[in-house]
């Protein structure tokens, strides 16, 4: 018998959910609002919330000062490139771990995850020197490679958990029908795991988009993505909060829109297999 949910309880739950949602979203909202203020309004105390003279001046200044399109293009290439490459490598890897595990599979999975436990700065110098040797500093190719390697453990782990939900018998049936390994992965496994793969891809695009350690340290002028664009508007001596907010809004807008449109897919993927 389903539990009875009273109207009152429904209203309270909805209110609580909206309040929590609003609190989580508030910093982004505040950034967007600040981007429409003057520098003086941005720091005024008490802070002004909605009733101020809205201005587009900061966006105009940011547009004039920086080549936004170039930063955006670099971000797109790095985020999408590394995710696609990572997924191509991870699908077969996760397949083997999910369907033909060996004794060491668990260890390998843990070992892969352990690479995420080391602070990134610990390997900055070795990677920087390798990049100098290979001529990869300030190139998109270099960054795609690094971002792929960084996100690989997460992609493999996520895909592995999704693949485990798929009954091995289905793949067996395909094999009995004469499917080769390639057919099995591309035509049977992948379509079934699409929600999981989609949410993995989306999450990784977001992670790669927001990554601000390697993208700042390994780039200069040519391959710098939007994280470097934001960093150019921060300053310890001088007030740039409104312009910084405008730059941040411009940097997060594309990924926010992508997230907005794909939220159904994302939620479906993240809860994939949660209910048995």
């Amino acid at each position: 018998m389903a539990r009875e949910i009273t109207q009152k309880r429904k209203i309270v739950n909805t209110l609580v959910a909206w309040t929590i949602g609003f609190l989580i979203f508030f910093p982004i909202l505040w950034t967007v609002l600040t981007s429409f203020k003057t520098e003086a309004q941005a720091i005024s105390d008490p802070p002004v919330f909605l009733f101020f003279d809205w201005t587009l001046e900061n966006y105009a200044i940011v547009q004039e000062r920086s080549d936004y399109a170039r930063f955006l293009w670099n971000s797109v290439i790095i985020a999408v490139g590394s995710t696609v490459l990572g997924t191509i490598i991870s699908v077969p890897a996760a397949w083997s771990m999910a369907f033909v595990p060996s004794k060491k599979t668990k260890d390998i999975l843990l070992w892969m995850l352990s690479t995420k436990m080391l602070p990134a700065v610990g390997v900055l110098y070795p990677i920087y020197l390798i990049f100098i040797e290979l001529g990869l500093l300030d190139t998109k190719v270099g960054l795609v490679a690094v971002m792929t390697l960084i996100n690989l453990p997460i992609i493999v782990w996520m895909l592995y958990t999704y693949f485990r939900e798929i009954p091995g018998e289905i793949l067996e049936a395909a094999r009995m029908d004469g499917a080769t390994l390639r057919d099995e992965i591309i035509h049977v496994l992948t379509p079934m795991a699409i929600p999981g793969i989609a949410s993995t891809v989306l999450l990784n695009i977001i992670l790669a988009w927001n990554e601000a350690f390697w993208t700042l340290n390994l780039t200069a002028a040519k391959a710098a993505p939007l994280t470097a664009f934001i960093a150019s508007y921060s300053s310890p001596e001088g007030l740039f909060y409104a312009k910084l907010s405008a730059a941040s809004t411009m940097a997060i807008a594309p990924i926010l829109i992508l997230g907005w449109f794909s939220q159904k897919q994302l939620v479906r993927g993240l809860t994939f297999g949660a209910v048995k």
Partner: protein
Amino acid sequence: MPLKKALCAATALTLASAGAAFAETTITIATVNNGDMIRMQGLAEDFTAKHPDIKLEWVTLEENVLRQRVTQDVAAKGGQFDVMTIGTYEVPIWGKQGWLVSLNDLPESWDAGDLLPAIRNGLTIDGELYAAPFYGESSMVMYRTDLMKKAGLDMPEAPTWDFIKQAAAAMTDKGNEVYGICLRGKAGWGENMAFLTAMANSFGARWFDEDWKAQFNTPQWSDTINFYMDLMNNYGPPGASTNGFNENLSLFQQGKCGMWIDATVAASFVTNANDSTVADKVGFALAPDKGLGKRGNWLWAWSLAIPAGTDAEDAAKEFIAWATSKEYTALVASKEGWANVPPGTRTSLYENPEYAKVPFAAMTLGSINSADPTNPTVDPVPYTGVQFVAIPEFAGIATQVGQEISAALAGQQSVEEALEKAQALTVDEMEAAGY
């Protein structure tokens, strides 16, 4: 024969563009995000018009990110930048390491003799100028003339610390959110320790004696920090242990500080009527002293330098000679007015009667001239640098010391505990570094 024609045209075009690409040199300039540097980017067309064969690429970063980025690049010889914006702290260290190209051969017309001696000395090692100053700054007292008058006091041009305390007490009106004095409290070698090291100089304290022995256990340091705590706890704004330049600027602009001792560059912000509610009520004075012959002001210059090993050295020199020239100053003045000219680098600027009309010009020059990086303290020291010690270990040590003092300001420990820890950690770090 249209195909043949088209092929010929395409070949000619390719050759032409290849020729152009061959002649063009691109220099990558790493710079900080501040008003003067952004203005320079905007005016760079003047340079490229005169040097059509040189293309400029800009990498603008927040100061601390930039410092880490360029240090890493110059140390590993990454070759990412041809011109770097670096501070007075880095120049002597990097120059000694052989990481920078000497600028002694900049053209005669650039006029090295015109540079302010205090600034030039800080950028010269063994007779070699390793960086060209773009703008220089010191620190000074900014105060509210109306509040000072209301308190019945008159700010002298060169106040003492005792007067500052008296004035802070008289101006404080916590009920109306007016605090007598705002000072840096946020931890960091370039944050609270820049202020406190300069302040300590005027109290007769020093970081190290002539044998490189740490001095935090001396009465001079105890006096400095106790005086600072007294000021901040009684007359400072709440939560001061997280206040840096920007936080104090914001408080001052909103009329919540009676006095603020900080970088001279702040003068143009607090007197800007668009952002500041007290723009017409600000006075300036030299940083305070204790009657010991040293004032509590620092000296800093953002300078342009060329990393050794760049393959565009000549073009980089051309650019630096343009950006730090007298002509550039005149260009800024003609386009944006004298108040926006990068200050604090050249004698000729301060001899210019037009520039003398800028309200903070004289005080900035006075402050810069009263700081001597080669002789910063009352007692002799083995190091150069006013608000820093020009050794590579300093940034790390001073940031830790800054954290201890910031913790004391936040009430988490006593001044004595903070200084004891500062002494212990400095001794350890210096021993580990082989001093």
